[in-house]
Amino acid sequence: MTFVTRLAFEPTESTSLRTDYVTVFIDGQRFGLEIGSVRDVFMAGAVTKVPLAPPAVAGLINLRGRVVTAICMRKLLRLPAERPAPGAMVVGIERGGESFGFIVDSVGEVVSVMDGDCQPNPLNLDPRWASFSRGIHWLSEGLLVVLDIDAMLAPSALAPALPLARETEP
């Protein structure tokens, strides 16, 4: 039997055959964020922790009078992470009238790729990663995992990490 997942890659409109992605690096892996969604890239100032928040929420950053909810990509992808320090690279996103910032290791150049070249998520991709990926591009310099911003900002993406923090022995 099968069960439904929402990973199906949605082809973009045929009129725009190419899409530009801002590349970011997390733990050595290259990811792509659609350029139209990215509002700005900036270095984090002081990050205010939010007690009781899901661990992937790194905190709040003041970006020129706007309060940005910062999300640690490493935590989201279940990679080892340290508390984000001032100076961390943040990719700013606007969604539903709110400002979010994804904390990444570094930001690379903008790449332009053919939409038709996008490969579906391989079956053996880590399911958590797969839930945030819309597909994979094979670039000459390596793989580009296209990130699904809506999936990353879904409350369910952040919530389940909570019980993992419990350190009771079975």
Binding site: M1, T2, F3, G45, A46, T48, K49, V50, P51, L52, A53, P54, V57, L60, I61, N62, R64, G65, R66, V67, T69, G96, E98, F100, L123, N124, D126, P127, R128, L153, P155, S156, L158, A159, P160, L162, P163, L164, R166, T168, E169, P170
Partner: protein, 855 residues
């Protein structure tokens, strides 16, 4: 949309509101030319503009209405029917306007019905009289005896009306050209930019403090004052007079009168009181509810009023005034007041309170039941109100914005609902505090007092077995460290509360203390909402940027209180005046882990049962004798799938591990959805093995799994598992304790130890439950409360000769031989000190073991 069309829509929407209002006035005072002239002019303008823009439906509707009105001006009697008809036309015009606003074109449709009725009403007078503006000086037929009164009111109206008649028209048009419409967004972004400006200014001030440039300082000072003024002005642009929320009320009252057959006059006072636009939006609905309520429940029928010697016409009076940073609005009626007997009867019927509890309550407290959800005293459900959805909505809407609603009444003479709301939500005075190295803002409105226990001998802070109590004058107040509520306490370096400050917070009747490390200053902060991702954190109400550019979170005292477990005691000796609704007794807050597995509804397990959550590679599952296992920390753990429809296949899946201390098992699921904490009512569903029942979680039906069953079926060879019966149920303990403080302190202790606890304040309630046959494994009862206490309960139990009598453990604060003697005579199981929590748990375990051995 076309610019001209957009302007037309907004302007017409405004003028049509005034037509509404003016018509109601006209009906009350049909001979007032000024009102008539106003309405006529408004409708005439609408008609003219519609024609110009090619909006045919609107044009013919307003034309027909104008025809009828021009006849009023010629002296035709203003009848209720005619006004009804014009009001119906106004409603139609509003409908069309809304559609134009959305789609930028006039909707298709036919208004023949209305136009024909309007023409019929106008029928008996010469057609065409609508085209010319009628000479205002034309004599109007007035009934003789009323003449002096009418003349007086006419004069008053001419003076008061903002737009009195034709001569003043030019000047009002001139005034209109002085103002412009600005979209809300523009003002909001101005607000953000001003905040940024303030931050930059503050940074400059910092720099100037270090450097010595006299001329720089002068310029900076000027910048400072201009910035401050700018901030204030921008704030002011968000303010609107409260009358904008009142515009629809005269029409509402008129319609209510027609519907209910009552005669009601609406009086409005303090209409120019200004408040924040955002707050204004939020109070519109509560206003409507309260007026409906007053008209329907408060004001009597005219014949009844006459019989009572009142004027047959009832009055609803709304008045608003500023009151030290808040706005206070009274909605008063001169009706029958509140029938406490009926409210009390209904409260008992609804199970909100027991008769015994009711006896101790003040009338004010009983009256507050009308704000409970689903509460309505009307015998029959009327169209206007009485659906029982009004008053609790009013209360929750008002409380949402940090306001309060209260009611006073005099029997037979009327009731007054008083709403208190903050002037603005955008800026609040907040106390900046620090705990565990992090700053927070605490709204000043909830803070009653700051105490520094070290510095003061009269404010003693004492520890009672892990819980802090502050003695403040005559009362004792529970104190909790903010850092521990927020889960950011570092146990190694945490100072004791004595070393810091205690912020005393009052919410309604509840008082508690928050221990913090430092208190800085009070600051006016600009409130920004939290991201949707964080909105479930009820301990915060928003965030703000402080003068130094740092983002701080704004604490929500209500959320903190809820996290305290609703267990705060009241002042010394004060009886719990606000017993929680009785049905809540059995449904304490619980946390569930919600997940998906296979097809069908979401499933949930109690979070407390889950010891760990692992992600397991399905390929590593080993099958031994038809059963699945994984290797986990050197052990083989049986694994089950949460739903038979699941395809385990390959890949990594979340696995919930649970254990009862001896046996461990894992449950494979497809996806973890969420963790929710709330009151859940788990309803049993037939004989489904492994299922406790279903509960509505997040508005969705969710199957709640019985971990005990799964554990047993994972270990079929285990002695207990072979029985295959239901999982061992948890022990049910009755806690009888009159003092809310101790009740609040002990119930969580018992719960944490794994008992199911029913906490009660009264012996009668306890006996009631036992007589209904509710099973309890043991009773823990206070034996020192004045009046009836645990001893009385034990005596009644003995006298009743029940077959199955739960053992009773006596709780005593003082101890002493008299207590022990009496306990022995009554054959109580044990006597334990209230403060000895481990002692209580030991005694309970022993007693339960003894009882089991006996049976």
């Amino acid at each position: 949309m076309d610019e001209i069309l957009r302007d037309f829509v907004t302007e017409t929407a405004d003028s049509i509101e005034s037509v509404d209002r003016e018509l109601v006035r006209l009906e009350q005072d049909p001979n007032d030319e000024t009102i008539l002239a106003n309405i006529f002019r408004l409708v005439h303008t609408i008609k003219g503009t519609c024609g110009f823009l090619g909006l045919n439906r609107l044009e013919s509707l307003s034309h027909a209405a104008e025809t009828v009105m021009s006849q009023f001006r010629e002296g035709k009697a203003v009848t209720t029917d005619a006004v009804d008809l014009i009001l119906a036309t106004v409603d139609r015009i509003k409908l069309i306007l809304r559609s134009i606003e959305e789609n930028a074109v006039e909707p298709d449709g036919d208004d023949g019905d209305l136009i024909r009725s309007l023409e019929r009403t106008a029928g008996d007078v010469l057609p065409g009289s609508d085209d010319e503006i009628v000479d205002v000086s034309e004599p109007i037929a007035l009934p003789e005896p009323e003449l002096p009164a009418v003349a007086a009111s006419k004069a008053a109206n001419a003076e008061n009306a903002p737009d009195a008649g034709l001569p003043k028209r030019r000047s009002s048009n001139a005034a209109q050209s002085q103002s412009i419409r600005v979209p809300i967004d523009t003002i909001e972004s101005l607000m953000t930019m001003v905040s940024e400006l303030v931050l930059t200014r503050n940074q400059l001030v910092e720099i100037s403090r270090r450097a010595e440039y006299p001329e720089f300082k002068t310029a900076l000072q000027r910048l400072s004052s201009v910035t401050a003024e700018l901030q204030e002005r921008v704030m002011k642009t968000r303010m609107q007079p409260i009358s904008t929320a009142w515009q629809k009320l005269p029409r509402l009252v008129r319609d209510l009168c027609a519907e209910l057959g009552k005669d009601i006059e609406l009086e409005l006072a303090g209409a120019d009181t200004e408040l924040d636009r955002q707050v204004l939006e939020l109070v519109k609905d509560p206003f409507t509810h309260l007026i409906r309520n007053a008209a329907d429940h408060g004001i009597e029928m005219p014949h009844e009023r006459r019989r009572l010697g009142k004027s047959p016409r009832g009055t609803i009076r709304i008045s608003a005034q500023h009151e030290s940073g808040t706005i206070s609005i009274d909605i008063a009626d001169d009706g029958r007041g509140i029938d406490i007997g009926r409210v009390a009867a209904k409260a008992i019927e609804r199970g909100l309170v027991t008769p015994a509890e009711l006896e101790r309550m003040t009338e004010e407290r009983i009256a507050r039941f009308i704000f409970e959800p689903g509460f309505s005293t009307m015998a029959s459900v009327s169209h206007v109100s009485g659906r029982g959805v009004g008053m609790d909505v009013v209360r929750s809407n008002i409380e949402l914005i940090g306001g309060s609603v209260d009611v006073r009444w005099t029997k037979g003479q009327g009731a007054v609902f008083t709403i208190k709301i903050p002037l603005t939500l955008a800026i609040v005075a907040a106390l900046i505090i620090e705990t565990a190295g992090q700053r927070f803002a605490l709204p000043q409105s909830a803070v009653v007092e700051l105490v520094q226990p070290l510095a003061s001998a009269e404010h003693r802070l004492e520890k009672v077995r892990g819980s802090w109590l502050l003695r403040l004058r005559e009362t004792q107040i529970p104190v909790v460290r903010l850092a521990s509520i927020l889960g950011i306490e570092d146990p190694q370096s945490a100072p004791t509360p004595q070393e810091g400050f205690v912020v005393v917070i009052k919410l309604g009747k509840r008082v508690f203390g928050l221990a913090v490390d430092a208190v800085f200053h009070t600051e006016e902060i600009v409130v920004k909402p939290l991201s949707g991702l964080l909105r479930s954190l009820s301990v915060f109400s928003g965030n703000t940027i402080l003068g130094d550019g740092a983002v701080v979170l704004i604490l929500d005292p209500n959320g903190i209180l809820a996290r305290l477990g609703d267990q705060t005691g009241q002042g010394r000796g004060e009886r719990d005046e606000t017993p929680r609704p009785r049905k809540r007794l059995h449904e304490e807050k619980s946390s569930f882990l919600v997940f998906r597995a296979g097809f069908g509804e979401a499933k949930a397990v109690s979070l407390a049962a889950v010891t760990r959550l692992e992600e397991v590679d399905m390929a590593s599952i080993e099958t031994v004798a038809g059963r699945k296992f994984i290797q986990y920390r050197g052990e083989l753990i049986p694994i089950m799938q949460a739903d038979e429809g699941m395809d385990l296949g390959s890949g990594i899946r979340p696995v919930l591990l649970f254990s009862d201390g001896q046996r461990t098992a894992g449950l494979v699921v497809d996806e973890i959805v969420d963790i929710v904490e709330d009151h859940f009512d788990v309803k049993p569903v037939g004989q489904m093995p492994g299922l406790l029942g279903t509960a509505v979680i997040r508005e969705r039906a969710t199957e709640v799994l019985d971990i005990g069953y799964w554990l047993a079926s994972a270990h079929p060879d285990h002695p207990e598992g072979q029985a295959a019966g239901p999982a061992p149920r948890s022990r049910r303990i009755m806690l009888l304790e009159a003092a809310p403080f101790f009740r609040g302190m002990l119930a969580p202790v018992l719960k944490a130890a794994g008992y199911e606890v029913v906490a009660l304040a009264e012996v009668d309630a306890a006996i009631g439950l036992l007589e209904r046959g509710e099973p309890f494994d043991a009773i823990v009862a206070d034996v020192e409360a004045p009046g009836r206490n645990g001893f009385d309960l034990a005596e009644e139990l003995r006298a009743g000769h029940r077959l199955r009598q739960p053992p009773v453990i006596a709780l005593s604060a003082r101890g002493g031989s008299s207590v022990v003697d009496r306990a022995r005579r009554l054959e109580l199981a044990d006597v334990v000190s209230k403060f000895d929590r481990p002692g209580l748990l030991d005694a309970l375990a022993e007693t339960l073991a003894d009882a089991e051995a006996l049976s």
